[in-house]
Subunit: 269 residues, 2 copies
């Protein structure tokens, strides 16, 4: 069992770089919006702005798909929507199962954006016997006992895990054994999966911690800047819209109230 290997620096798909693949859905979304407004063509500059990326990057991304643009004009919106959809495999229908119908799983089941583009919730699965048969998002929850049968009968290859962390590894193993080869994991655990299985994780806690890091850094920098510029320490030459951070907590001082102040309780031995 490969322990790490959750991400795929593995098989560089079919020439299309992973970074590009990750942006295609973004382009597709922007293009779909344009399509709904009946915009016939769009330049790389406009589309890039809508998708929030650099226009050169966008053109390079599209170049991996082929030469679908017209110089001097731009890209045909409808045509590009189709090409990207096809490249992403959205021209076919992907049945998906959600395992773990708690707070999050139920929210996911109720989420409309799912079926919007090629994905169809084939079944909701939970281990709680009390949940079995209950309707969630207009669909009866099924028991974990039938997991394998459900996967096989529906030809499911994509599974979503929204169980508690402790159950995630075991659930993934059952899913994989039954034929699932792609997993979207919401549980805060590292899943060990065999080669050939793709796992993507969504981890709220990690995202928040990354934000906290930058938030702390901003506070620290501001404190440092205030120190260098003695006059404007409190309310001096505040820039335009005055985005004043909550309080002037300095980064350097996160000391505990304890006597040793800087180390927790245990020293490195």
């Amino acid at each position: 069992m490969a322990t790490g290997r959750t991400h795929r620096p593995a098989t560089r798909s079919r020439g299309i770089p992973e970074a590009t693949v990750a942006r295609l859905p973004l382009y597709l979304r922007a293009l779909t919006a344009l399509s709904e407004r009946s915009v016939p063509t769009v330049s790389s500059e406009e589309l890039a702005a809508a998708a929030g990326v650099n226009s050169a990057k966008l053109r390079k991304d599209f170049s991996y798909l082929g030469s679908y643009g017209t110089r001097g004009v731009g890209y045909d919106v409808e045509y590009l929507v189709y090409q990207i959809s096809r490249e992403l495999g959205l021209t076919q229908d992907w049945p998906v199962v959600i395992v773990g119908i708690g707070n999050l799983g139920a929210a996911l089941a109720n989420y409309g954006g799912f079926s919007a583009r090629g994905f169809r919730v084939a079944a909701l699965i939970d281990a709680d016997p009390a949940m079995a048969g209950k309707p969630v998002a207009g669909m009866a929850v099924q028991h974990t006992d039938d997991l394998e049968k459900i996967i096989e009968e529906n030809g499911v290859s994509i599974g979503v895990i929204a169980t508690p962390a402790g159950a995630a590894q075991q659930v993934s193993e059952r899913l994989i054994a039954a034929g699932v080869t792609s997993i979207l994991n919401f549980a805060p655990t590292v899943l060990s999966v065999p080669d050939g299985v793709d796992v993507r994780k969504v981890d709220l806690s990690i995202e928040l911690q990354i934000l906290a890091f930058h938030e702390q850094r901003k506070a620290g920098e501001e404190a440092a800047a205030a120190a260098t510029e003695p006059g404007s320490a409190v309310g001096g030459a505040a820039p335009a819209a005055a985005v004043v951070p909550p309080a002037g907590r300095t980064t350097a001082e996160a000391r505990k109230g304890g006597p040793e102040g800087d180390v927790p309780a245990v020293m490195p031995a």
Copy 2:
């Protein structure tokens, strides 16, 4: 207004690479688990396995924080937990507001893992007057009218957006004007924010589409492999657990039923 710039190839923090910052929460989680099992020290090899990364990468990551290990022994678990927590800014308390208490927002509010590490849900905000005052996760939902007041009074610098896509940009602007400088966005939109504001997005739909891409690729490769090996076209030397894809649609042929077959309806003009 900076249009793109959602991600930060921007200010390379304080020497700590962004990629490393993104992994610190992963290490922290693994270390916390070890700490709860009262494991005193851990080697880079063991910890890397637990976090699902390469051990050399882990050591390099830690080297940005300083020399906290002991050669021949490993790292002191408690000490490292504290150092990473401090680096991520988790030794202080971060009040967070959730805007948009629908399916997802309510699930987030109910999520325990929030408060587990430094984050505290300070308020739940929704635009629906019918929601105002209603208790969700033991907390009364407040109306959007009071958004600015809530942010300021609680010193909130991190906001979570779980509104429909159409409202997200406007909500972000109000949050930012009120003092929020970090946003976690669950709505499927590109947010335009001024410099100095960090945005991270969680996009279920994009994750699924990326999985679909790889899924399609696997199916295509399998079909190609089967074609090269004529004997085992249908049920020949199937590997172990027989991971049979839904149907034998080849990647190359996603043609529509129409006459022109390959293009959607409109040609590039």
